[in-house]
Symmetry: C2
Subunit: 421 residues, 2 copies
């Protein structure tokens, strides 16, 4: 179960209520017309889970593997990493997941050295099927591990991409196992499509429960039961000049990769030129408690008041590690932590910071997990996706496009062609 | 060697030149009066390197160890992590470094399971000598590994703290080896003090070269040879309303921990109430290229124009990993990356993005490393510290304090005392 608490100090007026109604209407329309398809993933992807599990049970290469290597960048990797980061500790026997996302020679060399090719399944994930970095890394993987795609490594490589994409055609040519991503699902909204569900299911995660959590959020939201999502969206959209930055402050290292996923979702979806030709958007920041109390809190409390803060808190870490009563003579307060669990300590600190930030007049809200369950993780993903769609509707922007990136990608291609040796 | 390039599209006018001169004067004064002490660390800490090396050569426990565990949070950990992150790949035989920084029960349990107590040196790092999280983790470490501080584990634990601090008195009581941090060095400026130099030297890093790089920057700056630092500081200070966010975009995973260090340095130093009682400051963001081109670039290019971007680029990764000529039939541009090294690919992308961002009218600058050498890393640390001091002087704030954090820390102590069971 997740509880959503908000201390925004704000109630929408009539005009703002119209904005809310209009944005909800727009999102309902996006769903009904199929302009955006991510709403259906929690239900539709169950078939993928069944299919992947059946395939994995019949495939010796998968059965013998202990590592799932995901070759993909941005939306083809961050969501999977986010889910793995929040749930990994519950799966000591799951296959290891390794993410190849940066064409950085040092990083790639290190990752290569960690791989036993005979025990690894390689997933190449690219919605467009032609992402330059992904293709370059894929080539290096094929070359480094001498993968024989037609022969003995035929079922060691799986493609995840749009139906009919260049990668899809390539995979067809070699007869590689391929899973497709629905055309109307943008890459940064694609984690619950084959993009995330195939690698996580192969690794051994309970993706059914994950999807159920997402499904519940979709049903409740479109059933009018999660009004707070639209109110928060409206608060952020209406106050975007006053609070241009939303800081996601997750208490627990489990949120580190989730922060990166959130930053991509928020930045690429909301940083846009609006209908009137104005540059608009909200800037995401991601921090981890308690560590970042010692880095970012001073700025939040006394710096320019340009941030809203969203806390993520885990009630029950399902881990009873205690602070033992070891005497630390001469250290003031050295004894006050005795016999607390770390679970209690991290949450006492979270509460103290939430109170301090709120008392400083800064709008806050909290996403309170009763625990890190698969269903809670699925629900949170949908929560942030819906929130993003609603803010996008309120800002009157094209939430699902990324027109700024495309000229840069072309420029990169040109440079590569010019520099060809 | 590092080259600093700026495309700020700005030349200071007379008034701004006065601001620059005044700020440099203030930093010179901070150095001469000893108000801030970090300027002297590159020279003063050489003695620590000599001392640590001599001690390590004589200590069987250290000689037999393969892991240096650093227990510390914020400034007592981030700088060491930053340096390790940039240099680790050059030290395949250095001792492993493990950082205990978050009182997160899941994270701590995982780290505990990675430690062989007989082969580990534990460094407890806290400038105040009473940081709650550090003390709690230190207790758990003592308890979990049954460390006998008076007996057999006497030289397995080293304290790094202020002279006379509670931790210092504790260490004296047990006769533990202790290194002190100069009083006039703030914790977030302390990486080149014992705080970072002891763990890195023990692990086997060439900290002499690191300090030399820092020393060179200090000498050049105070010799008037690094004028660009103050000009950049002035640009950021003068335009803080227009560009409240500085985004550090490091091309290479080696910069991931450095980004965290920079964020702390910037946020805690510059987020302040100024002399006139106004909340002021600059917000730091840290991203990694090329991966974050797929997450943050759209926001930079088309979102609100509230960011300056500082690129960090490595000319020579000293790694020749190549993209092999593996045919990817049917994938457009699939062949254009053939025979490039990843070093070339990541830098071609970096250049394309730098050009695109600059052409969009966004102020940029680039810190160009010829390679990731110890001296370059040391220089960069001083560069960012000096830049921070200069901006702080220009904003007329107390750069070296963190008054916002202190009431929160007291509040945490109160809550812990109240909840005591």
């Amino acid at each position: 179960m997740i509880t959503y608490e908000a201390k925004l100090g704000w109630t929408p007026n009539d005009e703002e209520n119209s904005l809310i109604a209009e944005a909800i209407g727009k999102v309902v329309e996006e769903r009904e017309t199929g302009k955006a398809g991510y709403f259906n993933l929690p239900d539709d992807s169950r078939m993928i889970v069944t299919e992947v599990n059946a395939y994995a049970a019949s495939c010796e290469t998968i059965k013998k593997s202990d590592t799932v290597a995901v070759i993909g960048v941005g939306g083809s990797s961050l969501g999977t990493q986010a889910i793995e980061g929040m749930l990994r500790h519950k799966y000591p026997h799951a296959k290891r997941m390794l993410f190849f996302e940066n064409p950085d020679p040092i990083e790639l060399s290190q990752k290569f050295s960690q791989i036993n090719r005979k025990k690894t399944i390689f997933l190449v994930v690219s919605k467009s099927g032609m992402t330059v970095e992904t293709m370059a890394i894929f080539k290096a993987v094929i070359g480094h591990f001498s993968l024989d795609l037609k022969g003995k490594d035929h079922d060691r490589v799986i493609a995840i991409t749009d139906d009919g994409s260049p990668l899809c055609r390539f995979a067809d040519h070699y007869g590689l196992k391929t899973y497709t991503i629905p055309k109307n699902v943008g890459v940064r909204f694609s984690v619950l499509s084959a993009s995330g569900i195939v690698p996580l299911t192969l690794a051994g995660y309970d993706t059914c429960s994950l999807l159920e959590g997402g499904s519940k959020m979709v049903k409740r939201f479109f059933g009018g039961e999660e009004e707070h999502v639209a109110i928060k969206a409206a608060f952020l959209a209406v106050h975007k000049e006053q609070y241009p930055i939303n800081l996601l402050f997750g208490y627990g290292n489990a949120f580190a990769a989730f922060n990166r996923w959130y930053k991509q979702l928020w930045a690429e979806s909301l940083g846009k030129i609006d209908r009137c030709g104005n540059r608009t958007g909200l800037t995401p920041m991601g921090q981890i408690g308690t560590v970042d109390q010692h880095s970012i809190l001073q700025l939040i409390l006394q710096g320019p008041g340009d941030k809203t803060v969203t806390f993520m808190k885990i009630e029950d870490f399902e881990n009873g590690l205690k602070i033992p009563k070891v005497p630390l003579e001469m250290i003031p307060h050295g004894e006050i932590v005795n016999n607390y669990t770390f679970n209690e300590l991290i949450n006492i600190e979270c509460d103290a910071v939430r109170e301090a930030v709120s008392e400083a007049g800064i709008p806050t809200d909290t996403i309170l997990f009763d625990r890190l369950s698969e269903a809670n993780v699925g629900e949170t993903i949908l929560y942030f996706e819906l929130l993003t769609s609603l803010i996008g509707a309120m800002l009157r922007i094209h939430t699902y496009e990324q027109p700024g990136d495309e000229p840069v990608e072309r420029h990169i291609i040109e440079k590569l062609q010019q520099g060809k040796h």
